[in-house]
Symmetry: D2
Subunit: 425 residues, 4 copies
């Protein structure tokens, strides 16, 4: 390898490292100190914890193996999320108990690790650089996942506060009604699924393998708030025949009556958002629904949710760049604009789309070896796959083969609904 090559590859990684790390800090800029420590349910982490844990990831998986000493003796424990191989971890549902380290101390930790990473990277031989590169890249993708979670969790934390804090002013979507949804047909057949070898992927997207698909159809856009309201008005939340049994239990136990952030105030349906409380944008896609709600809606509509393979094959025809991502700073999904044109729309960005597929290993899948094998594989039980990214996903983080996963009752993610049906319907 020539010196100038080294320079360019090194520089490229360093630039990307700095940009991603910087982006995370930009996302918390609108917060006041008090916002950083709050945890209002077990699935949510305090913003401060996200800042620390992403740093811990680089320290534990990049620095520690090269012998760099720990920044702080307790952080290995406090900011470990769930890596049993690394050791014990502070209980997940008690992350909000820790007033210390302070926000300032957390930033000191971040910057110290940044400095060490940059120093270490600069000092590497080409060979060592090759060895460590995948872990650094994984760490950056990991941090991007937490960028989305940061906003998702801030929204939830704010939503339970009667003062309804504002994260940032946002613009509401288009007022013009979206075109009627159209069904787009796909022939199915024996199809390649999974990571195609280009760029980064998580281990759960591998190996590329074949799946047989019967002919199917997808709707060309996401289900809108207006369509979902029709489900509600038709008694969707009161009719057990529309629901999976486990979903119906949720409806009854938690009194679900509408998507997570909807409330009926002064004769009008409103939605709490990162932009504060505001009237529902009826043309926009319905968001913050669980798999159970998506599934019940689909049944009510005489359709079903797509399998993840169906979604992935269909997504092959669409450019990833089209959607609304974190980079747009809109923080809210866009309504479909313009006339129907026979193409799939809103496949990327906007909202994660629940699929009918439970989160399982692909044929031939093996987790990464070592502690990082715990990243994805051990969660392949009791979760559903979501596809496509959302308006709070970094644009360069998403790809057609990307598999997100959450429990079927999760509602606080930026999740929406795309309908599917068998082609012979």
């Amino acid at each position: 390898m020539e010196p100038h090559e080294k320079t360019s590859e090194w520089d490229s990684l360093l630039v990307r490292y700095q940009m991603v790390r910087q982006k995370t800090e930009e996302l918390v800029a609108p917060l006041v100190i008090e916002d950083y420590g709050v945890q209002t349910m077990a699935d949510v982490s305090p913003p401060k914890w996200h800042l620390s844990h992403t740093t811990w990831f680089f320290e534990t998986f990049v620095l520690a193996p090269t012998g760099v000493p720990q920044f702080h003796p307790h952080y290995r424990y406090l900011f470990n999320s769930y890596y049993e191989t690394v050791g014990q971890f502070w209980p997940r549902n008690q992350r909000g108990w820790l007033s210390r380290p302070t926000v300032a101390e957390v930033f000191v930790y971040r910057h110290a690790v940044d400095e060490r990473i940059e120093k270490m990277l600069r000092g590497l031989s080409s060979e060592d650089f090759r060895d460590i590169l995948p872990t650094v890249v994984l760490g950056l993708n990991h941090e991007q996942q937490h960028q989305e979670l940061l906003l998702t969790d801030i929204l939830y934390n704010f939503s339970v506060n009667p003062l309804k804090p504002l994260y940032r002013e946002t613009r509401l979507g288009d007022k013009s009604p979206p075109p009627e949804a159209q069904w787009i047909s796909f022939a199915g057949g024996l199809q390649p699924i999974g990571y195609d070898g280009r760029g980064f992927c998580f281990d759960n997207e591998t190996p590329r393998h074949q799946e047989w698909l019967d002919p199917y159809q997808l709707q060309d856009r996401l289900v809108t708030n207006e369509e979902f309201l029709a489900f509600m008005t038709d008694g969707g939340y009161e009719n057990p025949a529309l629901w999976l049994s486990a979903g119906w239990q949720m409806v009854q136990e938690f009194g679900w009556k509408a998507p997570l952030y909807w409330s009926f105030e002064d004769g009008e349906w409103c939605e709490f958002s990162l932009g504060g409380m505001r009237p529902i944008s009826w043309n926009g896609p319905v968001q913050h629904v669980s798999y159970f709600e998506a599934d019940a809606y689909a049944r009510w509509a005489g359709a079903r949710l797509p399998r993840e393979s169906e979604w992935e094959v269909a997504a092959g025809s669409v450019s990833v760049d089209e959607g609304t991502f974190l980079d747009s700073r809109r923080l809210t999904p866009n309504a479909v604009k313009g006339a129907t044109d026979g193409r799939l729309r809103q496949m990327f960005g906007e909202l994660w789309q629940w699929t009918q597929s439970s989160y399982s290993p692909y044929p031939g899948y093996y987790p990464t070896s070592g502690a990082l094998g715990e990243y994805n594989g051990k969660f392949m039980s009791g979760q559903q796959v979501l596809r496509g990214g959302s308006c709070v996903t970094p644009a360069d983080h998403i790809r057609p083969t990307y598999r997100n996963f959450f429990p079927p009752n999760a509602r606080w993610q930026f999740s929406g609904i795309r309908l599917a049906r068998d082609a012979h319907d």
Copy 2:
């Protein structure tokens, strides 16, 4: 249709009805009155409830639609399991609260409904008979499922009692060690999966459809108690790296250290069974393990669990008649006997085999319409498929396409482990 045809079809159904109903009553014959009402966990039903609920099924879905009045005004509510369409139901975890109706009254109920069913069947026109036949047959298959559950639940109820009651004397398995397990290879490819049109099936086995399978291998027999002990001795229950995250939580929360009914007494591992407490039969297949344990064992063994499609394709080469079923009255799985011969063994009977497949709808699946659509479809969330039947399954109840399903933490079923791996391993 000719009269003599009617006679023979009628008679055949009636004979089968009587045999199945009679079989259920034989199964409870070893019980004392006190045993009929006990419920020691929410997933277990008292024997009395099984007797009533299977009767309720015929009354509700066969008799009621033809206008036959209810036997008792409260039974529609008390013995409804989960059919929201039928109406409210007594809470599942409170089935053990009801000393009344008495056992004798439950038998009176059974026999009254039997009489009404038989009378009704005899009086039907050919056309009406055709209409009602599927529901009666469904009711019989439903009752056979509860025959297995009866024994499963009796075993659990007895197991928690320090007096360790005996259901019935049983014989222990063969003392000769089983042959080393062999891997049998399957080519995979595009394969038909699901109900093939012959005989009865539940709606969840439909429609027949194609699935692509990569080449794979299955072990020719089930994992034995001796093999599972090696997993335990090797720290299997202490090593989180072997477990799914949700499984590891169970291990910690409930202190799992061995299969459900094992206990270490006086220096020896014993197992509680329908035949009472007895030494482990080391050659016999390990039973009463959860999906999480089966999955952890497979990982420890450098293998994985089969997908249900892999299992089904492989099972096509095996006769359903070979295994140990309820009809044998053994109540315990047999050890493999005789030398290896390149064929799959213990595929049917013996123990339900956990698969890697979550319980999901087949492509093109639609539940039966009406209340009976709640039979299977609404449980397609959070459960794993098991295949093959067990030593407490009626022999004529099982078939290669049969899909049983339980939550991944369920241990009280007669469930065991068959290993699979990718062919290129």
Copy 3:
């Protein structure tokens, strides 16, 4: 001691032993086998358990110390209620899990212990008889407590069953309205409280000591169902200002709206009882209310509950024989009959009367030494004292100094309300 004396004392104890033990068995005679094993909440014990535990008491505390071998190796564990000194015990909330021993086996146990007790007693020297007498008498009083609990628990078990089983036909109370309640005045002053040395007592009634009482008044009869209905109609269950904080939590958490066994059916308030479901007897005393309800009612009525010392001093003026006890076989409290006469009525029998006194040790109290010290003393936390006995208390079991105790939220006891107030009111 002369021989004839021995004979008479011996005989007297034996006769009493046989009568009490026989009485218990009479109380379960109306049950069917299925009723004996049911436990519908943690505080309730299955009838079978009461039969066994009272027997266990004699076996453990009378027979075992004299070297009589155990009847069954597991019973010491299974039928121990809470005596840590004796050893471990089967979990209280799982008493309904045990179908075995059967009812028949429990009776065999009872009769075997009866035989051993009788044989042992007959064989004792005078000295040994003197030694053992207090424990036998304690065992008989213990069994009498369980006679009441048997009925209390049977009622609760039956009440949750939609079939509303009948324990035994009972007569409703008098239809004539009771006289207006009158206040009876007591001077107070320095008063002796506690066991006066005559007959049997539990250790918690000792020692006799002095307490200072300010002048006070008690109502001459219990609060009636009609009076309690006025409280309900006036929004008593909706007004937090009437309730202790912990009581108001109960109201909200459990949706209390009326006394435990009341239900509003077909336009009429009904009450479930050992005599089945029946219209409220408006003249009868309100029963099955918690301390919290009694306290809230008293506050609503501008009064308070009596302190236990006030109650005891007042009770000195009343004959214990007057009330309705178990011996009457009425199983339901009587309404007051006849005109007011300036005397306290319904002080004994009818219903236990909640007092404002928490269950605490008397000055100078020390528990019995040894395991029997656990009988009463260790429960002196978090409970309220009730006085007077009820319609299901054996008549010869009660006395003015008797201290019953239950947690303030307990409703399934035969508990009612007597009002008190300061004399200067």
Copy 4:
């Protein structure tokens, strides 16, 4: 009333108001912003909430009745603790969910209310001043209670953090061993109990009334850490015979093995404190024990806890000024110093002393009318009385008749043990 009198009374109240309010703010000065919002158990409130709630008290009970408009529309709800009469309140166990209002906003709220209170007070007529004075004084005493709770809760919040934050450097106690405890005798007899009319009191200290006391003895000092260690070493936490039944349940359920903040580190018992983690001061009084532990210790020591009347009568002989209070800024109880002199020591300040008395109304007690009647009376169930104040109680807040109360399992208060026994022992 003469003008100059008004001036002096007005001024005196204003000065006291300012001092108390200022004191609260001084107590939070050592905190960083992040510390203000944390709530690590339901019984603990975030420091920010204490600051707001005490302000809410003045706003709600002093300003609002005079027509002063609300400072903020949501605060009436958010900072109401438990006053049902005032309206609904934010759930107690979710006080840590609120990042907003910020700490700065809370201080703005405090100072705005301070300004309004001072303005209002200055503007009052003598008559109106007389009317409002008791409520202002109550508010100041209320704020003093929260000063203690602030420190108590900060300590708990800090204690669960592995970083073991320091509130403020404190000095350890004397190293010289305390003198052997002596028993001081009291004659008992008919004694006046309760508020004697001098100065402020809470309604639960009224009315003054008589109680009869048998002769009794109190130990002249509190139980030390060294003495408590002897209890531990002797198996105190493993012996159920020493415990109340409800206490033994706590020991088992929560694994109590030592006082709340003790931990065994590097071969040494340490204690977490407001001064950080430090070795146990063996001469100092044992602190942060529950009633159950205090009661078990007393039983082990062959003694008992005092009744509150016994404590109060004995305390009459002692000056309130002697102990360690908040004002000393020690934040930790002092060991007894100097030789025994036949007098009671450590009666005030140091640690709250658990009494055997459950928290009940005094004879003739009636709560204050209106919402403020909820201050004390509604908690008279399920709690135990503590007496004497602690090292974090303001010195001018305590008096001999003061009744503090907590549930018997509470350990996070500054609570200790004084032994009592009957005089004839």
